[in-house]
């Protein structure tokens, strides 16, 4: 049986989560590997959440926010973008592939794009294979 990755996703309430809802109301099918957590703004997403997701066994983390300039809170998505870059640098240093964390902009109307994004991300992570972090946690001694 092929490896089925688990992807934890953080979506901002106003654009991305609404976009995901739209994918639903439009009945667009996408990979079931994603598990979504709603935050009010991508600016709420901080490294702790990403690290926690990996330590709990996530193979990938997908963060979505409003398109640049469209943030419901003006600039939250930029704050997220800044953290995203540092998170990637950090996890890379910790021996985790950068690509396991991905940030994308999804507007309230981009249900289709969201579905495609989930499928792409799922494939990307499937190719990377299972994340080793959880195993490290278990064998840590």
């Amino acid at each position: 049986m092929s490896f089925e990755p688990t992807i934890v996703s953080f979506l901002c309430n106003w654009c991305s989560y609404t976009g995901a809802d739209l994918a639903g109301t439009s009945r667009i099918k996408y990979a079931p590997n994603i598990r979504i957590i709603r935050v009010m703004c991508s600016g709420r997403v901080e490294p702790t959440f990403v690290l926690k997701a990996f330590s709990e066994g996530a193979d990938g983390v997908l963060i979505c926010g409003c398109h640049p300039g469209d943030c419901h809170y003006h600039e939250g998505n930029y704050k997220c973008l800044r953290r995203y870059h540092l998170i990637q640098k950090y996890i890379h240093q910790m021996g985790i592939e950068k690509e396991r964390v991905h940030l994308a902009w999804i507007s309230a109307s981009e249900g289709k794009q969201f579905a495609e994004l989930v499928d792409e991300m799922t494939e990307r992570v499937r190719e990377l294979g299972p994340s080793q972090i959880k195993q490290v946690m278990e064998t840590f001694a």
Binding site: W14, T18, P32, I37, V39, F49, D70, H72, Y73, S107
Partner: protein, 574 residues
């Protein structure tokens, strides 16, 4: 904290969820999770009996936490929070798991979908364990209202409110009121004069004691929150005007599509290809003629110009079809002998009296309806020299199946409508979102079509999407009614899902100050700590995520809640 007693309710949503998620199995298994006291599944949780289930359980099993697994929280979170309130439980001790939009509707394998549903629910349970009761706060409502846009929508809203004796500031960027209707000669389906409808309204607005009118004025900035907005306006001379209001109605309208981008129609190249807007001018002036000043013998109307086409706009502009019918009638009465060719794809004549109008028009003589396939546009070209007509239109006529040539001296393009390019700025000032085609998004397309996700801000008329006059006016008056209701209440309730500073931890590094887009965080020199203004704070949580000490908590989105939710997501892995 008291021992958590959680109630779980899995909704079938009729068959919507039930056909893709094994709701029985889910509620059974979830019932085994520690702290879960009751786990039920029911056809429609949002229905009254559904909500009563929750209310009774809260009372009988004294639940202190509730999780509903159903549709998107954006749909029914408030519904269920109310239910908790009715049962005497703080509404924030509730969490929703979205197993419809995020599971049932997007996945195809029932087994997998069921597993995922469990994961989402266990995450919701983990989260709700750490929910805390939150207060709400009532703030006074400033009785004045700002209406942005002086078109039919803005006018109607402004007058409705002003007539009820409340102050209105009506802001219009151009030098006159009326918006697009100004250009319209007659309106469908009853051929009332546009002016006849508009001028009395404009006159009343201009002279109304309760309406402060600001022409040639634009919004410079808006800040504040429901009940207490502050707006800074700039007029043409650059003069700044500061206003305070409790509610805002956005009625910025739309503009017509520019057809010169469509090669097939040669608009701008062939002088006798004109837009419906230009044709309205002719009708108003009362003389229909070609550029050469001749009376046209053959007149063609082409529908869906810029509408219902993936290269331009995919949506239907709603008013063009019936407008075309209106033209057919007006042309026939102006030039009885003229041949009228109506080139359409689908004739969309919905709305009161419109279908009848279509029937009546099609029965009349020398009006020929020709159908082209969506996307297969007719081509307008200059007629060869020698012919005594100006232009030829070649098209694949669907009903006959023939490729035909249509003669034309005058071609009228029924141009569609689109959002204004400056809609973005407005959206930003008032904090409303826009959909893909740049029209504003309503709070809920069905249940709350004039409100927005920003409390106290309403969107009406064509800035939400193409509309005819009756729909526009009814929206405007609906919004007016909503505004008047809040003014009547005198106070609105604001959620306190805001950031809060733990002063025992805050070290005064001041990282958070510049992070806040609403200047809600300030530094208390005396105490040497940051403080959050709960009314200015909109609860985005960015400051909490920027705080290096963890002193700032984002209420209802705390680290503990989210981290616990993540654990829950993974707990159900198989």
């Amino acid at each position: 904290m008291e021992e958590p007693r959680v109630g779980i309710y899995v909704c079938w949503c009729g068959t919507n969820i039930a056909k893709m998620v094994d709701v029985e199995a889910v509620s059974e298994e979830i019932g085994k999770i520690p702290n879960v006291v009751v786990a039920r599944n029911y056809k429609y949780m949002c229905s009254d009996p559904g909500q009563d289930l929750i209310i009774n359980d809260i009372k009988e099993n004294n639940l202190n936490r509730v999780v509903v697994a159903a549709c998107s929280p954006r749909m029914h979170e408030l519904t269920f929070r109310k239910a908790l309130e009715n049962a005497g439980l703080n509404p924030y001790l509730f969490e929703m798991a979205n197993i419809r939009e995020q599971v049932a509707w997007v996945h195809a394998d029932k087994e997998v979908a069921t597993v995922k549903a469990k994961a989402l629910i266990s995450a919701a349970i983990n989260r709700v364990l750490y929910h805390e009761p939150l207060d709400t706060r009532a703030v006074d409502v400033n009785p004045a209202t700002l209406v942005i846009g002086g078109g039919m929508a803005g006018l109607s809203a402004a007058l409705e409110i002003a007539d009820s004796g409340k102050k209105v500031f009506l802001v219009e960027r151009t030098e006159r009121l009326g918006g697009n209707l100004v250009h319209v000669d007659q309106t469908f389906p009853y051929l009332h004069s546009g002016q006849g409808i508009l001028s009395p309204q404009v006159r009343r607005a201009v002279n109304h004691d309760n309406i402060g009118l600001f022409l040639e004025t634009e919004i410079d900035d808006i800040f504040g929150y429901v009940g207490n907005f502050e707006a800074r306006l700039k007029d043409k001379k650059g003069k700044e005007i500061e206003l305070k209001m409790g509610n805002i109605i956005v009625a910025t309208g739309l503009k017509t599509f520019d057809p010169s981008v469509i090669p097939e129609y040669n608009y701008g190249k062939l002088p006798n290809v004109i837009t419906s807007v230009e044709f309205e001018q002719m009708l108003k002036a009362g003389n229909i003629m070609t550029r050469e000043g001749k009376e046209p013998k053959n007149i063609a109307l082409i529908h869906c110009v810029g509408s219902r086409h993936e290269d331009y706009h995919e949506y239907c502009s709603r008013t063009c079809c019936v407008t075309a019918l209106k033209y057919a009638n007006q042309i026939r009465s102006a030039i009885p002998g003229a041949n009228i060719f109506d080139l359409y794809t689908d004739m969309r004549a919905f709305g009161k009296g419109c279908e009848e109008f279509y029937a009546q028009t099609s029965r009349s003589k020398n009006t020929l309806f020709l159908m082209f396939a969506k996307g297969d546009l007719p081509k307008v070209s200059k007629a060869p020299v020698g012919e005594d007509i100006d232009m030829l239109i070649t098209m694949n006529e669907m009903l006959s199946g023939d490729e035909i040539e249509v003669p034309a001296d005058l071609v009228i393009l029924m141009v569609g409508v689109e959002a204004r390019e400056d809609a973005k700025d407005v959206a930003h000032h008032v904090g409303v979102s826009m959909c893909g085609n740049e029209f504003f998004i309503e709070k809920h397309p069905k249940l709350d079509p004039v409100a927005t996700t920003t409390d106290g801000v309403y969107v009406v008329g064509s800035c939400v999407g193409p509309k005819d006059i009756p729909d526009t006016v009814s929206q405007a008056k609906a919004a007016a009614a909503r505004v008047l209701a809040t003014i009547a209440k005198g106070a609105v309730v604001v959620e306190l899902t805001t950031a809060v500073v733990n002063e025992d931890i805050c070290c005064g590094c001041q990282t958070c100050i510049k992070v806040c887009p609403y200047t809600a965080v300030s530094f208390d020199e005396e105490k040497g700590v940051s403080t959050v203004n709960e009314i200015l704070c909109k609860g985005c949580g960015t400051c909490g995520s920027a705080c290096p000490t963890g002193a700032i908590r984002s209420r209802h989105f705390t680290d503990q809640q989210i981290l616990s939710q993540i654990e829950g997501l993974m707990a159900m892995e198989v």
